[in-house]
């Protein structure tokens, strides 16, 4: 119970910090950076849901990010749709495409799935790049409006936009939280652990993989649409697979398959990138080996490492006989909180 209260405390502190940030930091640049980080986090949560919990690597998500972004841009600028309608449509359309891609892609195994999604992602990139008349191609797409007012709330200032994106982020995190500790979340983890075992347990792996894929595409499209409206300018390179690799690095550093991973990883890396601006040219030189070294030596990432540490401590506590007896009695009642770790690093 003590651990749980400590977690509540942490969350409260983080929430307070997040809310107070723009008020404490008056430099508009930092507020801008933070907002962008939040957008990345949403996309990384999408990636985390699928790769971290179901165990498959989808390389198409950059494409979905771009579709979300471009659809918003095209609907608002070229078709003149009201902002929030276009926003909803962008997410919906991308998710729908995700359903179709998922239906086909998920029938393939492991390696084929990665290659298939890589190709789908590339096709999306090529189309965006070549279809000048619709997307502006290499010249880019400009003039995307900032989010429209909702009632009395206006989102024209960076600070307002910060809070808007923060709201979406919180919603995403909350959804993930509910999901991970639920039967559905456990089902995904079972699939990641062993598809064979999951099948023999009567789990419909196809349906579950598809559901988690579609939800992850939804999160990614959300990030894409927010990105479009925030940056107000798009280029085909957002569909390029290198965006995927960025997300992957944030996720890995933070901890794949954990709830806190995306936040930790994205914050850390964007912060480091900022501080180490002078190394900007060497950025990609560093990212690559970091990714590889991480996956070999420390695949759990930061959050994953923390979870394992906690688990080890609890194991040690458990071997104490008196604590054992008490814990056994408490075990059944405290299960409801999902405190026992259902996550793997």
């Amino acid at each position: 119970m003590a651990v749980f209260e400590k977690r509540r405390l942490w969350l409260a502190v983080l929430a307070a910090l997040a809310l107070a940030f723009p008020l404490l930091v008056t430099n508009g640049y930092y507020v801008h950076m933070m907002t962008i980080s939040f957008i990345w986090m949403i996309a990384v949560y999408g990636l985390n849901l699928f790769a971290g919990y179901t165990g498959y690597l989808s390389l198409a998500h950059a494409g979905f990010f771009a579709i979300g972004a471009y659809t918003l841009g095209i609907l608002t600028v070229k078709a003149g749709w009201p902002f929030w309608l276009a926003f909803a449509a962008a997410c919906l359309l991308t998710t729908l495409i995700g359903v179709f891609v998922g239906l086909v892609a998920l029938r393939t195994k492991e390696h084929f799935f990665a290659i298939y999604t890589l190709c789908v992602g590339y096709i999306i990139y090529l189309i965006i790049d070549k279809w000048d008349s619709l997307t502006g191609g290499v010249r880019g797409f400009i003039g995307i409006p900032a989010p429209a007012d909702i009632g009395p709330l206006s989102f024209q200032t960076p600070v307002a936009q910060y809070y808007l994106v923060l709201c979406f982020l919180v919603a995403v995190i909350f959804t993930m939280y509910r999901l991970v500790y639920s039967l559905t979340g456990r089902t995904y983890i079972a699939i990641r652990n062993s598809e064979e075992l999951a099948l023999t347990l009567g789990i419909s792996t196809m349906k579950n993989k598809l559901a988690s894929f579609v939800l992850s595409v939804f999160f990614t499209s959300l990030a894409g649409a927010l990105y479009a409206s925030f940056i107000r300018f798009l280029g085909p390179d957002i569909a390029y697979v290198s965006v995927m690799f960025d997300f992957l690095t944030y996720l890995l550093v933070g901890g794949i398959g954990t709830l806190a991973g995306p936040v930790v990883g994205t914050l850390l890396i964007t912060f480091l990138s900022q501080q180490l601006q002078f190394l900007q040219d060497y950025r990609m030189l560093i990212f690559g080996p970091v990714l590889t070294l991480l996956i070999i030596f420390y695949p759990h990432g930061i959050a994953g490492g923390v979870i394992r540490l906690k688990a080890k401590r609890e194991e040690a506590r458990r071997l104490d006989p008196e604590a054992n007896r008490v814990a056994a009695e408490l075990a059944v009642s405290s299960q409801g909180r999902g405190e026992r770790h259902a996550e793997e690093g």
Binding site: S182, I189, A198, L201, A331, R340
Partner: protein, 254 residues
């Protein structure tokens, strides 16, 4: 006959893993499948549980043809299965592992999960209760909160049993349940299997430990090179020429 397999054949490219096997599993009995290494036993289980599609032949469960049925549907009908290497989630607790066993009897989905609907809460509770029930049955309540990675091999096997039991099956396929387990613990597992059958289940197991098989099996089928070479009671099989030949040329008899 609870399970009836007719002329089942599985070919992997040029390799004939299971060849024209006809076999029945009687309800309420302990059936065993033995044979030298590579005889096709695990492939046979894979065919029954649905992880492989047969090249030819049929499988019927409770009178219904399940040959084309996907693995997860067969589990819902009542066929459970354990694996040689347990496939458990090592980095999670026993409870976390077993709780998912009852999932197939629940129907809540993504939305139920996110919105914490009544249905979800009800089913989550049901899964937990089932998990405690089966852990109690296999005698592992005291380790419910321990990490699977920290358990002994025998305990892991019991967790795998519990997991299978949590699916509320009628037929349980045990793939080498006593592998890597010492003689005392093997006896414990034997008792557990007998207890399962006494409780109304039907068991079909693959094993190499002859003492265990001879002690608890009601009926034995012997496979060699994918073919059935003998079938009968333990006494009949023990004295069967073909079986002795097959083993003399094959692996050790434990």
């Amino acid at each position: 006959m609870l399970l009836h397999v007719e002329r089942l054949t599985k070919r992997f490219g040029g390799l004939l893993a299971v060849n024209d096997v006809t076999f029945s599993v009687e309800q309420g009995k302990i059936n065993a499948i033995i044979g030298p290494n590579g005889a096709g036993k695990s492939t046979f289980f894979n065919l029954i549980s649905g992880l492989h599609r047969p090249t030819s032949g049929t499988i019927a469960f409770k009178g219904r043809d399940i040959t084309r049925l996907p693995a997860n549907e067969r589990a819902k009908l009542g066929i459970a299965r354990t694996f040689q290497t347990t496939h458990l989630f090592e980095q999670a607790t026993v409870m976390d592992n077993v709780i998912i066993g009852h999932r197939l009897r629940t129907s809540s989905n993504l939305f139920d999960a996110i919105l914490r609907t009544k249905r979800h809460r009800r089913e989550e509770q049901a899964c937990k209760e089932k998990a405690m029930e089966v852990l109690d049955f296999v005698g592992l309540t005291h380790v419910a909160d321990r990490m699977v990675a920290n358990l002994s091999q025998e305990q892991k096997k019991r967790v795998a049993f519990a997991l299978a039991l949590a699916t509320d099956p009628e037929l349980v396929l045990l793939d080498e349940p006593a592998a890597g387990v010492n003689p005392d613990e093997t006896e414990g597992l034997e008792e557990l299997i007998v207890k399962m059958v006494k409780g109304g289940l039907t068991v079909c197991l693959i094993e190499h430990k002859m003492s265990m098989i001879m002690k608890i099996a009601d009926r034995i089928m012997v496979l060699n090179y994918g073919e059935k070479i003998a079938e009968g009671t333990p006494e009949e099989v023990q004295n069967n020429e073909a079986v002795i030949q097959a083993y003399l040329g094959g692996s050790t008899v434990a």
